[in-house]
Structure formats: structure tokens, C-alpha cells
Symmetry: C2
Subunit: 192 residues, 2 copies
DNA sequence: GTCTATAGAAAGATAGAC
DNA sequence: GTCTATCTTTCTATAGAC
């Protein structure tokens, strides 16, 4: 880890490091608490910078949110592999994600901020256009839009049960069985 | 509709009617905006009563929340019918629920308030013990806890996509096909 | 580039008049 | 039984000193 990546680079008057520290802390807190559940003071404290700098660098809490949550690490990456094992790959990924939600995570961000009056509408637009739409395109065939929507339903629902509600059955020693069930269910939507 | 059920009974100094009006407005607002997303002033205004009466009658916003969200209208009622068509019944129910979320609804309440520091933990306990646990008991067989958790995943995920994210594919003319897909998927978990 | 100080709004809760 | 008035805290955002 370079010096620029530590907290706010030890108050070194490095604008780049300050921006990065704020973004990193924002990703963590927005994923963990949602847009309305965290204050700019919390983010600033965690980044080791002054709260006023958030508005100085990003304009507003809302603009920070959208900067912090635009990720390229999509689950859609998994569509690049073999079609016949898509269900298995995504189920493995979902069931083995770290429970500790202290990093950027599109699923957690979505679930925890979708109810916000401020950022909810844009998050919904993003989910429908950039996720469901693209998955439907990849799926093809009959009722592709419905099947894509149902696949995302399973993804969101599973993540919510496992990481937010903390259902024990999804985090015990029967992980292999759980993955098998989920994989089969998702693969059924892929196959049409 | 009796006089007692109108707003706050026209300021008629009827404690029973006032309580009922607050509870009704609270159910609507907590389902629509979540615990943190609504203020006691909003609820009081909608109930046609003074905001101070909420604490007078219920002690606190938190206590009002739990009074307002303890419902007996469980989805688990659907376990009373034929086991072989459980998936179909629940899929029909989920896909045809009113989009307008202005009434008590355990699913919306859960999704919208699970992230709250105040009521989230109790909601999670309730979900795991009163919902997943009981469904697992009804399911029986191998990996019943896992299968029950996965069924609730589908329920929560579907409701979130359809009513909160507003995915068009789940609300268009292809409702019959959507129900068929979802029913098959849930039934697979029931059958084990 | 970073800080203090503060404006301005909104929240939950309560005391006490009527 | 219901109301007004207010205490206290917390929030985003900004002006201006350093």
C-alpha cells in the first residue's frame, strides 16, 4: 500500500489522495447503511478528512453517492463464460461472498438505498436498463425480459436473506447443497 | 364505514378511534417509506391527529412501528392448501398484488426497514424465526432450512423487483408466463 | 488544500395549558 | 383527550479564516 492510499495521506495536502480516501469510505458506508442511513460526517471521519471537504470535492452527498457507486465489477461479467454453467458460477459467487459488507457492492447498495427519495429513482433506472436489460439481451429466446428479471429477483433475494437478514441456513456447513439448489433454479431461467 | 373509522373521528375525543387512525396511517407509511423514511409528523398528519398523540398513545415511534407491523395475514396461510400447487398459489398472489403500496404488507416493511439500526435487528429475528423457521417445519425432508430460506429469497426478490424497482417485464401483459416461471421455481424447492 | 463556525431545516420527544 | 410550544439532537451545506 502506497502512502497515497493511507487515510488521507496524513494531511499531506494531496487532493488526489483525499478524493480517493473519501470515495473509499463512501463505498463502504453506502453499502453498509444505505444513502439515508449514513451522514457525510461519518464518511469524513472514516476517511480521516474534514466533512466540509466532501462538498468541496464532490458538490453534495448525492453526487458523492453516484460517483462512489458507479462500478464496473458487474455480476454480468459472469455471462462471459459457458452458458450451461452460468447458474453454478453465479450461485457459487453469491453463496461465498464475504458477509462483512465493508466494500463496494452493487447488490447491497441497491437493496439498502432503493427506498431513498433522493437516489432511489436513479438506482431503479440503472437496475432496469443496465442490468436487467443487458441480461435479457444475453439470454435471448422467449420471454427474455421476464427470465432476466426473475434471475435478478433470485440474486437480490438471496443476498438479502444471506447477508442482511442473516439467515443461518444460508451460512452453515451445508453451503454445497445451498449452491446446488440455487444454481439449478437460476439455470432453469437461463435455459428458458 | 362507521363514524369511528373516519380520520380521527372528527376530533370527537374518541381514544379508540384516534388509536385506530394512527395505526392505519402508520401501516401505510411504514410500508411505503420504511421506518427511517417517515416521520411521526407525517403519520400524524395523515391520521388527522396531533403528532404529540403518537407518543401519548404508543410511547415512541419504535413502539408504534412494532404495533403497526404485527400482522396475522401471513403468506404462510398458503401452506394450508394443496402441497403440489403451493408454488402456483404463491406465484399468483405475488404477481397480482396491488402495485400501490399503501397498506400493511410484511414484505415491503421488511425490505424497506431491514437496514434500520432501530428496528432492523428485530425484523430479522422475526423473519428467521416466524417465517423461515415455520416454513421449514412445513416443508420437512432434506435440507428443509435451506429450501425454506431459498423460497423466501424468491419471494422477497420478486417483490422487490416488481414493486420497488418497478421492472416493466414483471408488470406487462405476459403475467401468465411470469407466474408460470415463478411457480415452477418455487415448487422445485417445495418438492426438494 | 484544509479547517472552524454556523446557518437552516427537520427529527423525536415531552411539559403543561386547555 | 387534545393541543401548542419547545427542548435537544442531528443533518446537509456553505462562508470565510488560515
Amino acid at each position: 500500500m502506497t502512502a497515497k492510499e493511507t487515510k488521507a495521506a496524513e494531511k499531506s495536502r494531496d487532493a488526489e489522495a483525499t478524493r480517493a480516501a473519501i470515495l473509499s469510505a463512501a463505498q463502504k458506508h453506502f453499502a453498509a447503511s444505505g444513502f439515508d442511513g449514513v451522514g457525510v460526517r461519518d464518511i469524513a471521519r472514516d476517511a480521516g478528512v474534514n466533512a466540509a471537504l466532501i462538498n468541496r470535492y464532490f458538490g453534495s452527498k448525492e453526487q458523492l453517492f453516484f460517483k462512489a457507486t458507479q462500478s464496473e465489477d458487474h455480476l454480468l461479467r459472469l455471462t462471459e463464460g459457458d452458458r450451461a454453467t452460468f447458474g453454478q458460477r453465479i450461485a457459487e459467487r453469491l453463496a461465498t461472498r464475504p458477509l462483512n459488507d465493508d466494500q463496494l457492492d452493487a447488490t447491497l447498495v441497491m437493496i439498502r438505498s432503493v427506498s431513498s427519495d433522493v437516489v432511489g429513482p436513479e438506482l431503479c433506472r440503472r437496475a432496469n436498463e443496465e442490468y436487467v436489460g443487458k441480461l435479457a439481451e444475453w439470454l435471448g429466446g422467449e420471454n427474455a425480459d421476464q427470465r432476466a428479471a426473475l434471475i435478478f429477483s433470485e440474486i437480490l433475494g438471496f443476498d438479502m436473506m444471506r447477508r442482511m437478514i442473516g439467515t443461518a441456513a444460508l451460512n452453515d456447513e451445508k453451503q454445497t447443497e445451498t449452491i446446488a439448489y440455487l444454481a439449478k433454479s437460476i439455470q432453469a431461467y437461463v435455459d428458458g
